[in-house]
Each structure stands twice: as structure tokens, then as C-alpha cells.
């Protein structure tokens, strides 16, 4: 298994955010994690990427415990993150934001500056601009490109459609099949149920820090998702 969490718990001080979360991601798979605000999706991402440290055995990468490793070590193992809110570096140009994504992990793979520019051609035109001077959608493209620059085996995308216009979301999602073709597994954290079900191989639904549903999109009914998402039947 490429990535696995086992009985993962996380707390913010005395406030518990995750209560025994088990997920698995196979190589090349596209997984969606859906849930309402406060369900624990972002905390799960922060736990996997070492922003929140856990017991070592709560997160496994190819069977090895990585739960207590710092973020930099997680990235070097091939797990890259597109963080919620993009979080581009304000002092860096678009191109520098992309370059820094591939700076620490020198892995061979399909992604390079040119490959990212081919994926999002608008970034080639804007490459000298400050990253934060771009529109929200273009910033999201930079954030995705920045994560791809490390040629990851697993790409974690936290709320990549949040706050973007539908037409922009369509463009961003149009890039995901190309990312999958490159061999990377994808974990999409989404509030948009429709978007998530359309692209994912499997979907996890979370509510109040727990997984409430695991299913393949084709095999799950709208009512089941609704119930797992909101805690009440549609």
C-alpha cells in the first residue's frame, strides 16, 4: 500500500479533531475525501504531511512508519501537498514558486518546469510575476505545479476548488487526468461532492473527525453519501 493511516488521532490542544481514522491509498489511485467544514479533512492532510506530528505507526508509507517525521522528510519520500488556500510564497515569482517545489527532492519523472508550463500555459506568460499577483485560479495552478515539480508518487490536494469560479474549477480539474497519467496517486479533499465523485476511484466521507463512508462512486447512492456527509438522510 502506498499510504495508510491506522487509527489516526489528532488534537488541537484539548480539542480532538480526528478519532481513529483509517484510510488506504494504492499506487496510482485517485481518492476523494469529502466532508463538511470541520469534518477533519484538512487535519488529516496536515497529519499525513507532518505539519501535525503523530505516533510513528499512525501513518505508514509503503509499510514504513512516517507519522512522526517532519514535513521535509515526508516530501522527500514522494508525498507532495497542494495546501488549502494555495499558500504561494509572496516574495517569489511564479517561476521561483515552481522551482522551489522541485528543489529538495531530485526525483526523475515527467514533471519539469516545461511540463508544468505545458499543463498550465498561462503560467508561462506570467512566470516573472509575483506568485501572489495572480488570480485565484492561476495561483491554484502554481500551487499544483509547485507540488508536481518534486515528481511525487502521491499528490495531496486540499480544497483546490475552494473560492474559485466554476469555469476556473473546470480548468483545474481538467489537469488532473494528466497528473494521473504521469503515474502519481491523488488524494482530493473536497467539499464539492459532485466534483469528487466524478473523478475519484474511491471516496471517503468524513464527519466530526471520523470516516463515515468508504465506497466506489458507481456503487454508492446519493442518499448514502448525503447521510454520511451531513449525518442525516436526504
Amino acid at each position: 500500500m502506498l499510504l495508510e493511516t491506522r487509527a489516526l488521532t489528532a488534537n488541537y490542544g484539548q480539542f480532538g479533531a480526528l478519532f481513529g481514522v483509517d484510510i488506504t491509498v494504492a499506487a496510482g489511485e485517485c481518492l476523494a475525501i469529502i466532508g463538511a467544514n470541520g469534518a477533519g479533512k484538512s487535519t488529516l492532510m496536515r497529519s499525513i504531511t507532518g505539519v501535525i506530528r503523530n505516533e510513528p505507526g499512525m501513518v505508514l508509507h509503503k509499510g514504513e512508519p512516517i507519522g512522526a517525521l517532519p514535513s521535509a522528510e515526508i516530501l522527500k519520500r514522494g508525498i507532495a501537498m497542494v495546501p488549502e488556500g494555495r499558500r504561494l510564497f509572496a516574495s517569489l515569482s511564479v517561476e521561483e514558486n515552481l522551482l522551489i517545489g522541485g528543489q529538495a527532492r531530485k526525483a526523475s519523472g515527467p514533471w519539469s518546469l516545461e511540463a508544468v508550463y505545458d499543463l498550465f500555459p498561462i503560467l508561462r506568460e506570467r512566470r516573472k510575476n509575483p506568485g501572489t499577483a495572480l488570480s485565484g485560479g492561476q495561483q491554484q495552478m502554481v500551487a499544483i505545479g509547485r507540488a508536481l515539480m518534486s515528481n511525487p508518487e502521491l499528490l495531496l490536494c486540499d480544497e483546490i476548488s475552494l473560492g474559485l469560479a466554476p469555469v476556473v474549477i473546470r480548468d483545474i480539474y481538467a489537469a488532473l487526468p494528466k497528473v494521473r497519467q504521469s503515474g502519481a496517486a491523488i488524494v482530493l479533499v473536497e467539499q464539492d461532492i459532485g466534483k469528487a465523485l466524478a473523478v475519484a476511484d474511491r471516496v471517503y466521507c468524513m464527519m466530526e473527525g471520523r470516516v463515515t463512508l468508504v465506497a466506489k462512486p458507481a456503487e454508492v447512492t446519493r442518499e448514502e453519501v448525503h447521510s454520511a456527509y451531513f449525518g442525516v438522510a436526504a
Binding site: 514535513s71 521535509a72 516530501l75 495546501p83 517569489l92 517545489g101
Partner: protein, 287 residues
């Protein structure tokens, strides 16, 4: 003509202050750390160069070249072993630790070298001057200023045109997200402090060659450096040079009116800039 001479001497003096301040500016720009021991570290490096000259018989330039990697290692260790442990949201712990380090350094130097003032011998260069027609300038102040320019060009090149510089700026912007990019902020901070100590050694070389020094003069150098950084705008290296020049010119002008006003005039210039531009002339940092 006297005023032109005063202006030129002040600008050249500003080069020395910029050298004092460049390392401080670099460290503050990257990790928002105010190192209160910065002046004492300059004095420490000056003694290191002096030992190379007096004990090993080296020229000051060679002694400084040898001291630079040693000071880099000291800076790296200081950051990795001590300062990284106290960096965080609260700005008080690093201030207290570097204040303690300042006191310890002063007393350590006092024990090792006594309170006698010393000077790095440079021979004929000390009094050498160039006649530029309208004004005559000392070779040593000219070299100091040129070194400040070279140091700032080099630091800017490092900061804006290398992978390490990208890591510096990214970590300064957002250390958590830099971690997600595989950058280890604590390692970046240690390298930055090491580089700052190389610049400190250059500043120490000119400090020791131009004037007498003793273990107690560090805090005053810190204040000049700090004023230059604040005038220039936090985190801007060219701003730091401008800040150094403003203090230097103000001091030279004050001294031209009345020698007792030299130091005071520099501080008044600092206060005046703070009144007019509270964030400094060329602020880079947002906070």
C-alpha cells in the same frame, strides 16, 4: 568645499555601518530574529583576526580569510544548538538569549584579552590617502565602502539568484509551507546565521584596522547596525546601505559643527527618519 568633504567622509563611514548591519539585516529578514549579541560577535571576530596577525604573523587580509569559515561554523553552531530552540511566536526568548550571549561574550573577551584597547596593524595603508581633486579620501575608508558594496551585491545575488536564496525567502514568507516543499527551516536558519557571521568577520576586519577596539564596544556597534537596518527598512540590504550612509553623513555633519555632536547627530537622523517613514525607506518585510 568643507561640506563636500564632510559629505564624502560621511558616505564612506556609512560603508562601515552598512557592513556592521548587513549580517543583522540578513538574519532579521529571514527569521525575524534580533541578535543582540551582533556587535559583540563583530568584536569577537576582530580579536580572532588580531590573533591571526599577532600570533601567526599573517597579514590582516589572510587572517580574515581564515577567520571567515571559522565564524561561519560558529554562527551555524550557535543557530543550530541555541537560537533554533528559542525561535517561535514569542519574540522575548531569543532577545533574552542573545542578550545573555552578549554579556557572556563581553566578559569572556575581557578575561582573555583584558580591557586594553587593541588595533589590527596594517602598516602604511593606515594613513594612505587619495587626492581626488575636490576632496581627499583615505584609502582605508574607500576600501571599507567598496567592501560594503561588494558584500551587499554578493548577498543580494545569493538572496535573489540562487536556490539557497529562494529557500531563504520562502522560509521567511511561510516556514510551514516551506517545510512542505522539503525545506528544513532550522537548517536554512543555521546556514543564514553562518553567512551573517562571514559578513561580521569582514566588518570586524575594517573595525579593527580603522580604530581601536576593546571588549566593551560591541553594544554601540549593535546600535549603529540596528539603526541602519531600521532606517533602510527591515529586510532590505540596499536599504541597509542607505541607512548606514544616512547615519554616517549625519555623524560627519554633526562632528563638523561640533565634535561632541557626532554620535548624537547620527541618533537624531535615525529618529527623524522614524518620524517621517516609520517602516523605513525601503521596507521588504510586511511585518
Amino acid at each position: 568645499m568643507i561640506w563636500l568633504d564632510t559629505l564624502v567622509q560621511g558616505i564612506l563611514l556609512g560603508g562601515l555601518y552598512a557592513l556592521f548591519a548587513a549580517g543583522l539585516s540578513l538574519v532579521f529578514g529571514i527569521m525575524r530574529l534580533v541578535n543582540l549579541a551582533h556587535g559583540d560577535l563583530i568584536v569577537f571576530a576582530a580579536y580572532l583576526v588580531l590573533m591571526g596577525v599577532t600570533l601567526l604573523g599573517l597579514s590582516p587580509w589572510v587572517a580574515a580569510l581564515i577567520a571567515m569559515p571559522a565564524m561561519f561554523a560558529l554562527g551555524w553552531l550557535l543557530q543550530a544548538a541555541v537560537l533554533n530552540r528559542v525561535l517561535g511566536k514569542d519574540i522575548l526568548p531569543p532577545l533574552l538569549v542573545t542578550f545573555g550571549l552578549s554579556v557572556a561574550l563581553q566578559n569572556g573577551l575581557l578575561e582573555a584579552f583584558s580591557a586594553d584597547s587593541r588595533r589590527i596593524p596594517v602598516g602604511a595603508l593606515e594613513g594612505a590617502s587619495l587626492d581626488l581633486g575636490l576632496v581627499t579620501v583615505g584609502v582605508m575608508p574607500l576600501m571599507t565602502f567598496a567592501s560594503a558594496i561588494v558584500a551587499i551585491v554578493a548577498l543580494n545575488g545569493l538572496f535573489y539568484h540562487t536556490a539557497l536564496g529562494r529557500a531563504f525567502r520562502a522560509t521567511s514568507d511561510d516556514a510551514v509551507t516551506a517545510g512542505l516543499m522539503g525545506i528544513e527551516p532550522k537548517r536554512v536558519f543555521a546556514v543564514a546565521t553562518g553567512i551573517a557571521m562571514v559578513v561580521v568577520t569582514l566588518a570586524a576586519l575594517y573595525l579593527g584596522m580603522r580604530a581601536n577596539f576593546d571588549p566593551s564596544i560591541g553594544p554601540a556597534r549593535l546600535i549603529y547596525a540596528f539603526e541602519a537596518v531600521i532606517i533602510g527598512g527591515l529586510g532590505s540590504l540596499w536599504g541597509t546601505l542607505a541607512g548606514g550612509i544616512i547615519i554616517g553623513v549625519a555623524q560627519a555633519a554633526g562632528a563638523a559643527v561640533n565634535p561632541e555632536w557626532q554620535i548624537l547627530a547620527g541618533h537624531i537622523a535615525f529618529l527623524a527618519v522614524m518620524l517621517l517613514k516609520p517602516r523605513g525607506l525601503f521596507p521588504r518585510a510586511v511585518d
